[in-house]
């Protein structure tokens, strides 16, 4: 048993001939919020998806709770206690909000449905108001809330989030990132991929900076926030 919940060691990943990740190593400690920041095309989403095996890591290993998951199929990763709110939300647009939540329970069965649904509605009251509405008719922020709630319905130990702030109004971003704090407080480990470095680093216990498929910097959230290189590249230099 290793001390980390998620260990990524020396991972390479390719899209056809193009190398998207180079020798990436990073760790997520249980109970923490860990963030990965980087510019467009740095490979953030690729790294997140290699955990789910799409694209599969060409080299290196990925371990979850000490178990090697580098080569297991995508749907089995979902059953191990890892859930993701994927890039672009990927909710089921013509299904209702509640059906989307039910889909989130697929890995664990529907025994806890009433209890967990109530929990999600308490965290995101907007979803309760709209629970019988088709998910495709929700606003962007509501869809993001739904994606996070759907992921949480499988009672994951590790929650992966890919740019939850993408395309949302600043106020909603704040609201969603605040709710991540609550989720972390309930004992869920969070791995957050973000472009919004300022918000993400404030929230995170630990951060990694990905540049052109390589980990350039790592440190605690506060350290990275104070780092001049990060400030120049991601925080507008002030």
């Amino acid at each position: 048993m290793s001390e980390y919940m998620l260990e990524i060691q020396n991972v390479d990943a390719f899209y056809g001939p193009i190398q998207a990740l180079r020798n990436v190593s990073m760790n997520v400690t249980e109970g923490q919020i860990v963030t990965l920041i980087g510019a467009n095309g740095a490979g953030k989403s690729t790294l997140l998806m290699t955990i789910f095996g799409s694209p599969r890591a060409a080299k290196g290993t990925i371990k979850f709770q000490g178990k090697d998951i580098t080569h297991i199929p995508m749907h089995e990763v979902g059953r191990l206690g890892i859930a993701q709110a994927p890039e672009g939300r990927r909710i089921f647009p013509s299904m209702s909000v509640e059906e989307n939540l039910l889909m989130g329970m697929m890995p664990i069965g529907e025994a806890h449905m009433e209890e967990d649904r109530a929990k999600m509605f308490a965290m995101f009251p907007r979803l309760q108001e709209r629970r019988n509405q088709r998910a495709g008719t929700l606003s962007g922020g509501e869809q993001q809330m739904l994606a996070i709630a759907r992921a949480l319905m499988s009672r994951p130990k590790l929650l992966l989030l890919d740019e939850p702030s993408l395309g949302l109004a600043p106020l909603i971003v704040k609201q969603i990132l605040n709710s991540l704090k609550d989720i972390a407080a309930q004992g869920v480990t969070i791995f957050l991929v973000e472009q919004n470095a300022n918000h993400a680093l404030r929230l995170a216990d630990r951060g990694y900076v990905l540049v052109n498929g390589e980990i350039r910097l790592s440190g605690t959230g506060a350290e990275l926030l104070a780092n001049p290189e990060v400030r120049d590249a991601y925080l507008g230099g002030h």
């Binding site: 859930a83 089921f92 529907e110 629970r131």
Partner: protein
């Protein structure tokens, strides 16, 4: 509308609109009801479409004229106001209130229907039920799982031939139903497995090919299937009781067993009732499917495969189960078809059948059970009532489809999302 201009006085606008609508009505009705076939030629009765167009014209004019006047506006406002509440709210359905009264009545009505039909209409009703079954089966594959299957008729053929050929080896009607279901599901599995990595158009082409392969095998494998000559299918029996006037070796005909007078239609009435019960069972099952995890998984897979897989769903199993479940239903329909026809041959299983079944699903509304049932009834009974226009059947189909795609792209009945909430609405 097209030719009106916003500054026209209402009466002129109404007149222009109505003329336009009347013209369209005339164009639509002219070939359908204006030409009456007479041998190889036809007589034109253009006064008929003219009358219909006039009715449409008058209706539109009255409607639009009234809507323009203050009286009409008040009337419309009154109807609208009775429901509207201020603010935005999400509508709750209340249309299902009467369902528990309507359903049993409908059920009993359909059950006793065959006793009031002559033999011809009975066969039409049976055929309609068979298409309901086929439509429901394809609805799983296309409507719920979103896998475009153009070769659905293959499973129908598997079912029909299972009964026809199986009877030579002593397989009766009742054994044939589960057997056909299993064999068709296996055929679905065999087809499904290699094609599941395909999407959309590619899948459609492969399934189309599969449908043709099955038909060609039936056509050419003379020793087993009888080739184009087909194979006879025996009459259905009930607990060993036969429905013929005189029973074959050792059997008992029903009129002797029950001590009633012989009715040549009894066999078909029996077949209809069994079929109707199977259809009812399937409708019951399918209407619950969408609130079951399996049905939801099919729909979710149609919407987003990546999201589904990351939620722990094995996409191969989900697709395969949809294919097999649909094929199974098609196979059962095939048994009833063979039993009703008393004979099967490959010409019953052409691509046109697949297209017809697909038309039922599209017309009815993808995924909607009620819609599919309605569409199946319409598409089988309508051509029979319009026998005199048999040549125009395909034309009418085409027009219907184009119209549907324009005005109701989601089919007759758009599916209602199931609600899961119980009593905690606030």
């Amino acid at each position: 509308m097209l030719f009106t201009n916003p500054n026209d006085p209402p009466i002129l606008a109404a007149l222009k609109d109505s003329l336009f609508v009347g013209l369209i009505a005339f164009l639509v009705f002219a070939p359908i009801s204006g030409m009456v076939l007479d041998g190889y030629g036809f007589n034109s009765h253009l006064e008929r479409p003219a009358i219909m167009a006039a009715i449409v014209f008058a209706g539109r004019f009255i409607y639009q004229f009234l809507a323009g006047t203050s009286f009409g506006k008040n009337l419309i406002a009154k109807f609208a106001a009775s429901k509207a509440k201020p603010g935005v709210y999400v509508g709750q359905s209340d249309g299902l209130k009467y369902l528990k009264f309507i359903l049993p009545v409908l059920f009993i009505a359909c059950l006793i229907l065959p006793f009031f039909l002559d033999k011809y209409w009975l066969s039409v009703a049976t055929l309609a039920m068979i298409y309901v079954l086929l439509g429901l089966g394809l609805n799983i594959v296309v409507g719920l799982a979103g896998l475009l299957d153009l070769g659905f008729v293959a499973f129908y053929a598997v079912g029909a031939y299972t009964f026809a050929l199986g009877s030579q080896y002593g397989i009766g009607f009742w054994t044939a139903i589960p057997l056909a279901a299993i064999l068709a599901a296996m055929a679905g599995g065999i087809l499904g497995f290699p094609v599941l990595r395909m999407h959309g158009d590619y899948l459609a082409i492969v399934t189309l090919g599969f449908g043709e392969i099955i038909r060609l095998i039936l056509n050419n494998w003379m020793e087993v299937t009888g080739g184009p000559n087909g194979a006879p299918a025996p009459n259905p029996t009930f607990l060993g009781i036969e429905f013929s006037r005189t029973a074959k070796e050792g059997g008992v005909p029903y009129h002797e067993f029950f001590g009633v007078t012989y009715n040549p239609a009894a066999e078909y009435i029996f077949l209809y009732i069994v079929l109707f019960l199977v259809v009812s069972l399937m409708i019951f099952f399918f209407s619950r499917l969408r609130s079951m995890p399996m049905g939801r998984a099919w729909e979710a897979l149609r919407e987003d495969e990546i999201a589904c897989r990351s939620l722990g769903l094995n996409h191969v199993m989900v697709k395969l189960s949809a294919f097999m479940m649909g094929a199974m239903t098609g196979g059962v329909a095939g048994v009833f078809f063979a039993a009703q026809q008393g004979f099967v041959n490959p010409t019953s299983f052409t691509f046109f059948e697949s297209a017809l079944i697909l038309a039922i699903v599209v017309l009815g509304g993808m995924g909607s059970v009620v819609g599919v049932v309605l569409a199946a009834l319409v598409l089988t009974i309508l051509p029979e009532t319009l026998r005199t226009f048999a040549e125009y059947r395909i034309l009418i189909f085409g027009i219907l489809m184009v119209g549907m795609m324009l005005w109701k792209p989601r089919g007759l009945i758009r599916i209602r999302r199931p609600y899961f909430s119980r009593g905690d609405s606030k």
